[in-house]
């Protein structure tokens, strides 16, 4: 979820079922502890509902379904990462945020060098000797879904 021109200065590392992922810190609005999710009718698959963050209604995305991980209900120990995606805020459910590291310390490996044609994978970074996959957020949450989401939230 690094930007295309690879200008991210800081990466946020988060955990899902023991796997580490990275996110550009500049796209992150803030981190909050998991709260109660309000369900809405007509939401697309992979969207659990909406939460209120600082007076704004924000849809909650289930990354587990995206990454084909076994499903699990949201726990009180989970966290919501509030990110800006195509000019609107969305919340991502993660187990925990493990670290915030400068991108300069993390060696970046572009996906194009390894396997051209991986649409939603931006590349990998190496943190403490561990390879972490980076997803392109805009491609990851496709435009169609964002549009149908827009309708559902406005309805």
């Amino acid at each position: 979820m690094i930007t295309n021109d690879n200008t991210a200065s800081t990466l946020i590392l988060f955990e899902l079922d023991g796997f580490l992922f990275a996110l550009d810190a500049l796209k992150v609005r803030r981190l909050v502890r998991a709260g109660e999710i309000t369900p809405l009718p007509g939401l697309p698959a992979g969207v659990l509902g909406v939460v209120s963050v600082a007076g704004e209604v924000v849809p909650v995305f289930d990354l587990r379904e995206r990454l084909r991980m076994p499903p699990r209900a949201v726990r009180s120990s989970d966290h919501f990462i509030i990110v800006r995606c195509d000019a609107r805020l969305v919340a991502l459910v993660v187990d925990n945020v493990t670290d915030v590291v400068p991108a300069a310390e993390a060696g970046f490996i572009s996906a194009a060098e390894v396997l051209p044609g991986l649409a939603s994978v931006e590349g990998w970074v190496k943190v403490n000797g561990e390879l972490i996959m980076i997803y392109d957020l805009e491609k990851f949450l496709s435009m169609d879904e964002l549009l149908s989401l827009e309708k559902a939230v406005r309805a």
Binding site: T10, I12, A25, V28, R29, L31, V32, H79, D99, V100
Partner: protein, 579 residues
Amino acid sequence: MKNWSISFKLLCLVAIAIAAFVCMGLYGILNTRSIFGWVSEVNSTAKDFQRSAKEISDPLHRVRELVLSIVLAPDRALREKLNEAQAESSRQLDAGFKGWPVGPMGAAERAAFDKLRAAWEDYKKLKDYTVDRATKGYREEAFINAIDTEARQFDSTIGELDGWQKLKIDAAQAVYREADSRFRLVVQTSVIVTLLIVLLVGGVAFVIVRSITGPIQILTTTATRIADRVDDTQAEKTLEPVLDTGGEVGQLARGFWRMVSTLRTTIQNETQSRARMDEILTSTRAAVGQLGSTGAQLLASTKEQATGAEKQAEAVARVATTVEQVTATAREAAKRATEVGKTVQRTLKIGNAGRKATADSFTALNGVRKRVEETSKNMMALIEQAKAISGIIGTVDDIAQQSHVLAVNAAIEAAKAKEGGREFTIIAREIRAMAEQSRKGTAQVRQILDQILKASGAAIASMEQVTTGVSGAILEGDQSSQAINELAVALGEVAETSAQTSVSADQEALSMTQISDAMRNIDLVAKHALLAIQGTAQAARQLDDLGAQLRHLSAEHGARQASSAGDPPAPLLSAAKAH
């Protein structure tokens, strides 16, 4: 000028430069045009020269040559032919003079041209005379005229031609000089104007750059002061003149102002959560102290129990030995009926001792039961305290989680602030490390509490066993006491009817076997009780160890906190702690 945005200022600068260079270009074009005019003038002079050579100079020389040829020609036919050619050239020369454009000529040139034409007219007359003489046969006269009068007139005509051409060359040279001086003037003017433009544009650029860098320098100074000491409220006053400024620099200043406010709020929150954690740690330490004293109390009472149980075991062993002696004696009594009387007396004594021993063990067992019940109560209190600590640890865990989230958010804000947030990134990392440390600490405490609860459960279970064993022993003791009483009665009867000893000897032996069985039971129960008490003692020791461990952990945590408060890792953090 101060309220203009940077891009507008830069546009002005570029516009000034472009205007100056356009003026320079126009000046250059005008000068090039006038120089072009002079060049065309020189060009026309050159064309005149070519024409004068073709139409005047060449025919004149040809006429002279032909006239000389006529004079020298040997026969009449050749003279006629040459005369025709000479006449043709003369006509050509006349036409050239006639057709020469006199309009554009200056006064001096016109005078020179007229003189040339007059000289030609004179020469034509002399030449015609020479030709006339030659054609008519007076060759000597023609020859004299040709080399004398005509030759002089020809030289004078050539002289006039040279004078006229020299005038033309002079005019062209004048044009050249004018062009040369104009070129020098243009070069000088260009150099001076270029220097003036460079100075003007440089000056304007200097003023604009000063107006941009001034506020940025103020911003930098303020940022440095706030980075050194975040509670330096005086630092913001230096920012005030920049805050009202419009344009990008003003926006930057206002953004910086907002970032500093957010930073302050975050640090205050962190300080509050730290204070709360300190309170909880203090109460945890107190609870741990209480837990330690309870463990020590429990250990002491368990030791007492063990001593009592050992005493009981000794007494029971004594009773068992005595009973065996009684049995042996009873058997002997059956065999030796004659010595029954004496033996019965002794047996009575021994029976009394057995009764006393049973009563003793009864008292000891009651003591054991009482202590075990006390211990059980203490254990219950201990479990309650452990549960209370568990609740406190939950709160600490919650605060550690909140600190973690806070630290991550601070790190995100710092990342957005780029250069300005570098210092704060380090602080956010320290806060996160601290939250992680407290989370690990609470996990350790929780593990120890689980061990305490498990050990306490085991202790209560073994104490229940002790209580059951002791109750059983008391019941058995009652039975044996009754048996001994019965024996005493029987012995009394035996003493009276010593003669009938042989009959009652069997009965006695039976009773003794019963006593022996009862004593074995007592012994067994007492051993059970001892084992159970030993188990309790071990549990109590474990409890004491755990208490000591907890105390140590708590003291260590306190020391760590004290040491981290002692050293100043960063100005921001020390300011937060002083609060």
